[in-house]
Symmetry: C2
Subunit: 322 residues, 2 copies
């Protein structure tokens, strides 16, 4: 993994991925006690940053391999990203999803042309299902984070943050990134290392699923005790990735861990002051920026809103915190 | 009013107003039966396009006049736009608001440094209050739509639509614009006349407050029977403006009128597929694009989401339509 892979991914994504805005509101600055800049990847195609990694991976395949189709396992956002990219290339996309994924994510994936196969998160291992189907049908497996091209695609978020933060006059401070398997975190960290070395990535995770924070603290990969049931479904992964963790260990500051109540409050404040929809897993970084300022350094903080695919009932619950 | 005033406003706004994205989602295209491109002005500073007009008007004042301060009467979004612009210039802003305006709009205006004065929409005339205060304190009145510089500022939305639609390959079709007093409608219409003559503005209004649609149909200004109580509070005005109506009469196609149920549904679909927050008055154009396609021409339709400042309870009600 290096910056050239990320700039190459940016070239392939040009004209296909959106350059999402870096938003701000004086009311959020007041709450945080410092400037807050929000990278709104919920406004990306398919409603999350995952479109970038999906496109980067599919576009990197040799045409004769790509035309046989791709397969992905995902709690939803990666699925939609890969399905949308596959449809643009006119190739089949088989998507293996947990049966308890939010209905809009399952429906969204089907609408984008994905052939959805559901599995039970408690009793089945998605990697086993993915490997078997890939072998049977000649499909190429696009992993959600432990894939160099996927990390490169997510890293294009970091290239944009570097440029947009500089335009806003911010060259030093912490960049909170919503962290599941660590693909977005690793990609952004690599991009900032090359393009904005004064900006330091801090992975943000929900309580109970803080595997990366504990892994960074201990120096070795740590798993989560439970693997389902959390509010932040999009970023529930068993442990840091084999490709992503070494990158994050080298480049990231300590993890920031937030409560579900803080996540819901961050969603509500993004609604009120930024006018964007954040899903719970996509709001952990903003929650860290707003409510854990004592752990942060600098006059400004940057936070990703990584996705906006949430059930209306969950969003309505978040609004009750206003 | 001419295109030079709009391009001059764009120059003054540069680096201060956001170039908001033109969003899309395949699910909305399916519903509408044509391509749908959405100009998301809810992502503008202060949560609506009104920041543009406020900044354009304040920045156009001679410094010795400007420093005495400005005054505005507004149901909320214009108030916030003027207050934010005044704060940036370090001058006082007195804002006359109806006492039944949504709480977030009143609070938002105060947070931005506005000196808020409330009035009763049923028994008082805001123009009288505004004129008196302006005379007493030497303030310059910034009208919400019947002001050439305000129209020029709103017209910068049209300049961006012309560029962004061309980038998306759209040069012909209808552009639905949320219409209250007609300032955004007139500004966008003037900009498109000069920069994208294949795009035609269609004012969008809620049932019961369709003064511009009826005025365009009859050729003379028509008033609304009632002036408060509607869902779409941001765009409830008594009648078309003296400056705006002649422009809109010359340049716009027939008005499109939508029901409150369609407005709520459009808000919900913007939540689900675009991940942005639309207020009711800001969703009328999208409602027209999605649900009144038989009245539209072309393979693509462009709709403004003009603002996102809504009460959480109203938004939760909209989500129930999903």
């Amino acid at each position: 993994m290096n910056i050239e892979m990320i700039t190459a991914a940016a070239d392939r994504l040009k004209g296909h991925a959106r350059r999402t805005p870096l938003l701000s509101a004086p009311q959020l600055d007041e709450i945080a006690g410092r400037r807050v800049l929000v990278k709104a990847e919920c406004l990306q195609h398919t409603g999350s940053f995952k479109f970038r990694g999906g496109w980067a991976a599919v576009s990197a395949l040799p045409p004769e391999v790509r035309e046989k189709g791709v397969i992905a396992y995902s709690s939803g956002n990666h699925a939609q990203g890969v399905a949308a990219a596959a449809r643009a290339f006119g190739i089949p996309a088989v998507i293996v999803m947990p049966s308890d994924a939010p209905a809009p994510k399952i429906q969204g994936t089907k609408t984008l042309g994905g052939d959805v196969i559901l599995y039970d998160r408690a009793t089945e291992v998605r990697e086993d299902i993915g490997d078997r189907l890939a072998a049977e049908r000649g499909l190429t497996l696009i992993k959600p984070y432990d894939d160099a091209q996927v990390i490169a695609g997510q890293g294009t978020v970091g290239l944009e943050i570097a440029d947009q933060a500089a335009e806003a006059g911010v060259t030093h401070g912490d960049v909170l990134v919503c962290c599941g398997g660590g693909g977005l975190t690793a990609g952004v960290a690599l991009a900032l290392e090359a393009r904005a070395p004064g900006l330091r990535v801090r992975p943000a995770e929900p309580e109970g699923f803080d595997d990366t924070a504990r892994s960074l603290a201990s120096g070795t990969p740590q798993g989560n005790a439970t693997q389902s049931g959390g509010l932040c479904d999009a970023i529930l992964t068993p442990r840091p990735g084999a490709l992503t963790f070494p990158i994050n260990k080298r480049l990231c500051g300590p993890g920031v861990v937030v409560s579900d109540a803080e996540v819901l409050r961050a969603m509500a404040l993004a609604f009120r002051h930024l006018k964007v929809v954040a899903e719970p897993g996509g709001a952990v970084a903003l929650a860290g920026a707003l409510f854990h300022g004592a752990q942060l350094q600098g006059d400004a903080v940057i936070a990703t809103i990584s996705g906006g695919n949430t059930d209306p009932a969950v969003f309505a619950r978040a609004l009750e915190s206003l």
